[in-house]
């Protein structure tokens, strides 16, 4: 019985490969499977090469998976463009359109060419069953049903969702194509037949992606203003909020540029509302100045960066984790701002709320570092227990404080000063980017400036103790460490389980709070460690370097990092861990 199945499909945009993947995903989700789907494209808006991966499992899915169990190629030219996303192994069942001819010899690295290659006359079957060869992907889905036991009824429901709006005829035609595919699969069983296990009874789940979870988390957290600008792969956050936020009493502004987007959000925060912006790397660069303004003016702000390949325009449609340095350091002057990173679609909701909480509590911009994979992959998500998620508000002055000569930037034991907003009588103050004294009056005094820097840094000290913003698994005394963040953490978690199954003495650390570096948490973690890996998707291995800047990392802890658009696989991380354990 198969507990886990990874299907990859590639064709051109007109083939509807991604739509088919979505139908499969929806079918799996409705049947109670845990499922996850990623997509990958060429640069054309429509009709370029197009691919998807769907992973279904009876256990929670932590990442898109490694080598494909099933690969579907509608043509070879497009399939080959996705070498990184659709890796083949010798056990992969490679299904292809028979018209495309046999697979090219260099389709996979030597030793990994699939042993089972099945040519299916997809176009013919589609034409005959549905009247058009465009129904090829429905034939494929039917075949998957026949081979692996994905319930046909569930697939049919998925088809209805996709084609329903276009008319009953189209739905019926594709149903026939499904059936034809299933019949073909039953008539041509696999060499080593495997059937998907049935998932147990499950709670209702969500089917969502990171951007949707981010927007939803923002709504739940009480966001009342979003200002932003379209940029791949973050635009969906703004789009979703445009539809939904006004019903909750909020305002969404698609501004004229990135700077105006974050500028309007800072204005809204100054006016007392929880405010947010979302962007990717290039937009973060543009927003840098205003982020500094928010830091010195001590204004709460949530800034979501859905990372993509960089630098500059980079690779807009692929994930990378190379904006960590920017999130942490990009500012002139001495600036300390919290940086959080979700690791999955599911925790994006909770961490977005956390970002708002930190922003409000500490009156600071907070960067939420998502990435393209988490943001745009669709996965089944457990319903969060909303009653357990706290929502915090900024400290506002009391009536007494407003009557008594209110000082906006008064020093307090915590470093956090009560913050007023326009409309609040007695709370009038000047917010400014220029350095200021306790009242907000501009100053050039070194002593006052030093005191203000101390205050702005000191107020964030409690973050050093936030062990709840770290996930630690494994034995406290394990000598082998695996550290990872963001989307790579999903791969790390699976590698960790596989390593433990092999009895490797490994422990795992996944920070959700990347900055400030919670030194004691790391010190405690690394106390027992002699060797380890910091797993991340960036050429420089940015977290590894950041940790070395703040800690004495054990010498045996090295960086396992590479440029984006080449996601890690759990099996390759496992092999590296094995080597580290033997070193």
């Amino acid at each position: 019985m198969l507990e886990d199945l990874v299907v990859g499909m590639a064709g051109s945009g007109g083939d509807g490969v991604v739509s088919a993947g979505e139908s499969l995903l929806a079918a799996a989700a409705s049947e109670g499977f845990h499922a996850l789907m990623t997509k990958s494209f060429g640069s054309q808006i429509r009709g370029g090469e197009s691919s998807c991966r769907v992973r279904l499992s009876t256990r929670p899915v932590l990442n898109p998976g490694g080598l494909l169990d099933v690969a579907v190629a509608l043509n070879w030219e497009d399939f080959r463009r996705f070498g990184a996303e659709l890796p083949l192994g010798s056990d992969t069942v490679l299904v292809h359109e028979s018209k495309a001819g046999p697979p090219p010899e260099d389709l996979a690295p030597a030793g990994r060419l699939p042993r089972q290659v099945l040519a299916i006359p997809l176009s013919e079957m589609a034409k005959s069953a549905a009247g058009t060869d465009k129904a090829r992907t429905s034939v494929v889905l039917g075949a998957l049903s026949g081979w692996f036991g994905v319930p046909l009824a569930a697939l049919e429901r998925g088809l209805e969702k996709k084609f329903g709006k276009k008319g009953a005829e189209l739905v019926e035609a594709n149903r026939k194509a499904l059936a034809a595919g299933q019949a073909h699969a039953l008539a041509h069983p696999l060499a080593a037949p495997r059937s998907l296990a049935r998932p147990g009874k499950s709670e209702p789940r969500l089917l969502s992606d990171g951007n949707e979870m981010c927007a939803s988390g923002a709504i739940f957290a009480g966001c009342e203003f979003f200002g932003g600008y379209p940029i791949t792969p973050s635009t969906e956050v703004m789009q979703l909020l445009s539809r939904e936020l006004p019903a909750y009493g909020g305002v969404v502004l698609q501004a004229e540029d990135e700077i105006s987007g974050v500028g309007s959000a800072v204005g809204a925060s100054f006016a007392g509302k929880k405010a947010m912006t979302a962007t990717s790397g290039p937009g973060m660069s543009l927003k840098t100045e205003i982020l500094g303004l928010a830091s010195i003016a001590e204004l709460p702000l949530v800034v979501v960066n859905v990372q993509r390949g960089g630098p500059s325009t980079g690779i807009p449609t692929k994930p990378e984790q190379s904006d960590l340095f920017q999130a942490v350091f990009s500012a002139h002057g001495d600036v300390l701002r919290p940086v959080l990173a979700p690791t999955s679609v599911e925790d994006t909701f909770r961490l977005t709320v956390e970002a708002f909480n930190l922003a409000e509590q500490y009156q600071t911009p907070v960067v939420l570092l998502s990435d393209q994979e988490i943001a745009q992959r669709k996965e089944t998500v457990n319903l969060p227990d909303l009653g357990q998620i706290a929502v915090l508000e900024r400290l506002r002055p009391t009536t007494e404080q407003l009557q008594d000569g209110y000082q906006r930037f008064a020093d307090t034991p915590s470093g956090v000063s009560p913050i007023s907003h326009p409309g609040m009588k007695g709370g009038n103050y000047l917010a400014a980017g220029i350095e200021h004294d306790r009242r907000g009056a501009p100053t050039a005094s070194g002593a006052v400036h030093a005191a203000m820097n101390v205050k702005r840094f000191r107020k964030l000290d409690p973050l050093q103790g936030r062990t709840d913003l770290f996930q630690q698994l494994g034995d406290r005394d394990a000598p082998l460490a695996l550290v990872s963040w963001g989307s790579s953490a999903g791969v790390a978690r699976e590698a960790f389980e596989l390593a433990r199954a092999r009895r490797l003495p490994v422990k795992l650390l996944v920070p959700y709070l990347l900055y400030p570096v919670a030194e004691q948490v790391y010190r405690d973690f690394f106390a027992s460690v002699r060797r380890g890996l910091v797993l991340e998707l960036s050429h420089q291995g940015q977290l590894h370097r950041l940790l070395r800047m703040f800690l004495d990392l054990p010498r045996g802890v090295s960086s396992l990092a590479r440029s984006g658009a080449q996601p890690f696989r759990a099996d390759e991380v496992l092999e590296r861990l094995q080597r580290e354990a033997e070193a």
């Binding site: 939803s216 739940f220 204005g267 925060s269 003016a297 319903l383 907003h421 409309g423 009038n428 980017g433």
Partner: protein
């Protein structure tokens, strides 16, 4: 007149750092008077500025002020107003802040038509940084960054703002304090984006011909020319004389102001909420797979 709020109620204890003789002192005085006439208390006024000598102005009033970063006052101010439409929002800055680095935000603030008032203190120079060329500097002007004379045609702020479709466009000078005070008040009262270009000379880096004494002789009121401010084409024509003539008064006032962006947003929210805002705990309902 509303005696409940005196101009002095808007004066903050902070002493302006402007050079004695700066035109901005007159603007500040006019602002105190205009605000007291409009009658909103200081805590309901949000005053946003960019960077420059004139951008220091919010701190010299008792309103909530936000002296932000160069060129970005308009987006920030729109965020303030949209977050709380009940506030009175004023934006101030110089010609560089508004038409150089901030130039990209001007068309959008105008077409968006959030209800705010934009006061530009136009002195054809960058004063704060010691006298460089500005986007409204006349061609041929010698400055520290144009020692051989500027090669560029200046931007015409009046024509630009009119062409982008602003509903209220005026020009003023501190040389006519009653006139300027009335124009600022009128701009504040106009429902929508309103713009007043204020010829506020720089006494340290400006030319002699630019100083207020010269304004007194040069200035002509649009009223004295028989201009009808509801005539947008005539306004555009008169605006072309920027740089050659100093026309003061209202160039254009839309006789039928369209609804403001903030009013439309409120309307939309009301329609979507049907009574009250949706409870936030319901946010995930739509996404549950059944």
């Amino acid at each position: 007149m509303n005696a409940a709020l005196a101009p002095a109620d808007f004066k903050s204890p902070l002493k302006p750092i402007w050079c004695p003789g700066c035109g901005d002192f007159g603007v500040l005085q006019a602002l105190y008077r205009a605000l007291s006439a409009v009658g909103r208390p200081p805590h309901e006024v949000a005053f946003v500025s960019g960077i420059g000598c004139s951008s220091r102005i919010p701190g010299y009033t008792t309103a909530y002020g936000f002296n932000s970063v160069h060129g970005r006052a308009l987006p920030i101010a729109q965020g303030v107003k949209l977050a709380n439409p009940h506030l009175l929002v004023i934006v101030a800055g110089g010609d560089g802040d508004g038409f150089s680095i901030g130039g990209g935000h001007v068309p959008h603030a105008i077409r968006r038509n959030v209800d705010l008032t934009y006061l530009v203190m136009d002195n054809q120079v960058y004063g704060l940084t010691k006298g460089q060329l500005s986007p409204t500097s006349p061609r041929g002007l010698r400055t520290v960054t144009s020692p051989l004379g500027s090669l560029e045609q200046p931007v015409n702020p009046l024509l630009t703002v009119l062409a982008y479709g602003a509903g209220f466009v005026a020009q003023a000078t501190p040389a006519d304090m009653p006139g300027m005070t009335a124009l600022i008040e009128e701009a504040i009262r106009y429902p929508g984006f309103s713009f007043v270009n204020i010829q506020s000379p720089c006494v340290t880096f400006g030319e002699e011909e630019q100083q207020l004494r010269a304004h007194k002789t040069r200035m002509k009121t649009l009223g004295s020319l028989g201009h009808d401010p509801s005539n947008q084409l005539a306004a555009l024509d008169l605006a072309r004389a920027y740089g050659k003539e100093l026309y003061t008064g209202v160039f254009y006032r839309n006789p039928d102001p369209p609804p403001t962006y903030d009013a439309l947003v409120l309307q939309r929210q009301a329609e979507l909420q049907r009574g009250e805002p949706r409870p936030r705990a319901r946010v995930l309902e739509r996404l549950v797979q059944r």
